[in-house]
Symmetry: C2
Subunit: 424 residues, 2 copies
């Protein structure tokens, strides 16, 4: 009876969201010391629950072939002792971060004696949708809760047993330390329609955060009735200016492209100023070829690099996530900026230059979450930025842009203190 099932799914998701909403009220004024004690207790409990974690993880690994997972995907699923220790340490690191809630963002004393305080407070309820990797379950729970939110976790079915065990450990530690048990809830159904139900509940859920493939993120962005923190892709550029130190440029391009190719802050496109192209293009061509990277170039690039393939417009727009890079010679920094603003994802774009004026123009006018001056694109990352913990990277401009840490999971309220003031 599919109709009955649908109604149950709706009732179930509503119940989860309402529990989260109630928990979020209590979380909002929970002392920082309680949240920290909980995360430290959970870390200990994880370390001493090796047996339960191994058993749950073995069930996931056994089921993995049925889900059509590749060997690499199965490996990412595996909870080795090192990984369990990593998860526990991650919880302790989040516990040690300063509590953001209740801190004063700003304060104004008005002529009539009213004091207007802008105070940091939680967003409320976070709906986090992610694919496999059991460690993400603990990371996301910790960072959302540290920011005073309740979180609904919707993990991939591939890691369901491992995630269930981790959330159970978190819930037990919550109970022991006085944290609302429903601060962290794992969605127990793997029915994809459950996600749709949650995405319609903008009265109960304050933000949706999808992490995974572009298909998942596009689905969430299209269906969500609440704000979404997301990035679709990362078509990141390195622009080598006329005033660049070419040895530095080579190191930055190779690092941006090759240090890890499958990630969103890896470079996908190289722009070279015409004045240095004759010197630089053959040099970088050789360096990238040595790393096994295929070059797709503009006509001028292909002149200097007989091995380069002719680039299409689609190549300039592509996020290759692999050993391919597009290359274009530009006649000015303006042309480089226009190219980046047209083809880029607003994620991470770098310039290599010795010119202060050109660096300033580039950082002012490139409309991206992060602009790197004489540094690799690979540094756009919460840990590298010193945020302590990260829930994702945003290429949107509203609320959160770039790496999203704990602060990006908070908002503010105004608290106005008077002594009986009325408005005349």
């Amino acid at each position: 009876m599919p109709t009955t099932e649908k109604i149950d799914l709706q009732a179930y998701t509503l119940e989860v969201a309402e529990r989260a909403k109630r928990a979020s009220r209590a979380m909002a004024s929970l002392p920082g010391s309680v949240k920290a004690a909980w995360l430290r207790r959970a870390a200990e409990a994880l370390r001493s629950s090796k047996g339960a974690l191994d058993e749950a993880n073995a069930a996931d690994i056994a089921a993995a072939p049925d889900f059509g997972l590749t060997d690499a995907q199965i490996d990412r699923l595996r909870l080795t002792p090192d990984r369990i220790e990593g998860i526990a340490t991650g919880l302790e690191n989040v516990a040690a971060l300063p509590d953001p809630i209740g801190s004063l963002i700003g304060s104004t004393m008005r002529p009539n004696g009213l004091r207007i305080d802008k105070v940091r407070c939680p967003l409320g309820v976070v709906f986090f949708i992610y694919e496999s990797r059991p460690n993400v379950t603990a990371d996301a729970a910790a960072i959302c809760a540290k920011a005073g939110n309740a979180v609904i976790l919707r993990g991939g079915k591939e890691a369901q047993h491992s995630s269930r065990t981790i959330v159970d450990i978190l819930a037990r530690a919550a109970k022991e330390t006085g944290v609302p048990e429903n601060a962290v809830q794992l969605v127990t159904t793997t029915d994809r329609e459950a996600v749709g139900h949650f995405l319609r509940m903008n009265d109960l859920i304050d933000v949706a955060i999808p992490r995974g493939g572009e298909g998942l993120i596009r689905r969430v962005a299209a269906e969500a009735t609440m704000p979404v923190i997301k990035h679709f892709d990362g078509n990141c550029h390195v622009y080598v200016d006329a005033d660049a130190d070419l040895a530095m440029a080579e190191a930055i391009v190779v690092n941006s492209k090759c240090q890890r190719m499958g990630v969103c802050n890896a470079a996908e496109s190289l722009l070279v100023h015409a004045n240095v192209a004759e010197k630089f293009v053959p040099r970088i061509g050789a360096a990238l070829a040595a790393e096994g990277v295929e070059l797709r170039g503009c006509p001028k690039t292909c002149q200097w690099l007989p091995n380069a393939v002719s680039a299409t417009d689609a190549d300039y727009a592509a996020e290759f996530l692999g050993p391919v890079i597009s290359v274009r010679i530009v006649s000015s920094v303006d042309e480089a900026i226009d190219h980046i603003n047209q083809y880029g994802s607003g994620h991470t774009d770098a310039i290599v230059t010795g010119s202060l004026a050109v660096a300033r123009q580039f950082s002012d006018q490139v409309d991206s979450a992060a602009v790197m001056i004489n540094a690799s694109t690979r540094f756009n990352d919460g840990a590298e930025f010193g945020l302590g913990a990260e829930i994702g990277i945003s290429t949107d401009k509203f609320h959160a842009r770039g790496p999203c840490g704990i602060e990006e999971l908070t908002c503010y309220k105004y608290v106005v203190q008077g002594e009986g003031q009325i408005r005349s």
Copy 2:
């Protein structure tokens, strides 16, 4: 041929949005002095354009009865010499505010020598949809542009001639002072479908801001594919605590309810602690009755106020925007907080109390944009908060909450400065 017309509407709106996007690129790095000079020039031009403004306004006033406008609405449409001076002064006030763009929000020096700057920058393109009142045209244009954005204005058809003239004056002043002409564009078609076209363009428009009736705002929120800054309604509360100074409480309740009844930060509901109800309810009942306010109360309220009507659940949820208030006796601050979080709009809620602990609990746990301690709800306003200018009030928690000034029309980017750093 309706089909052709539809295609034209789509082409027209796309053209407007693309022009805005191009203008936003130039606006992003326009010096603050240029924006200020433009707004001052436009203020002068408004003052010396009385003839053109009178003529345009007369055309709107003449057409008003055809649109079924009430006398009060027609009055709001009228551009008197005082109002023209008010608009001009408003532009000069915005010109005088500090330029937010390019300022450093924060900066971190990383161990590897990277300097991570968080820099304030514009959102990009703002789509502003509003009803009548020609002064809003100038106010909105000024505040959006001061924040470095391009703005698409979609005003009500009732004020179309007046708005057109104001935008022409702004555009002429822009040309004379070196501001991109398309920084401010007025949508020239009054076809309501144009709004739908714009709301689908999340690749060109960064935020939509509707201002007007709840119907307009709900339509924009439902159709928009980009973020929206909005509030649907303002069901604002005053809670009179057991520890309240009752004279202060009376003044604050009367002011919150009666100082201006038709606005979103007026009080719609009164909560009274049981310990002071016997003393306070008859007193406030008389004071409100003297102002012509109808009271709809809980059973206990009705005991003390024979003239009070019995309140329904719908009354507790209602934004009356007129001479009605709901009243409920509560047995604790917790009950007051629960009532507000259940029935309120998250807009503005006040407490009157002498207790520091109760004030703190209330401000921590009431989940609203503004919490007033011993002050009227009517103070939740950009000018009263000292923001300089305001584009609206948000009851959302994402990005902007409470009165939205110039800063809420900006975002940030990370600018990372290195000397050749690569990631290992």
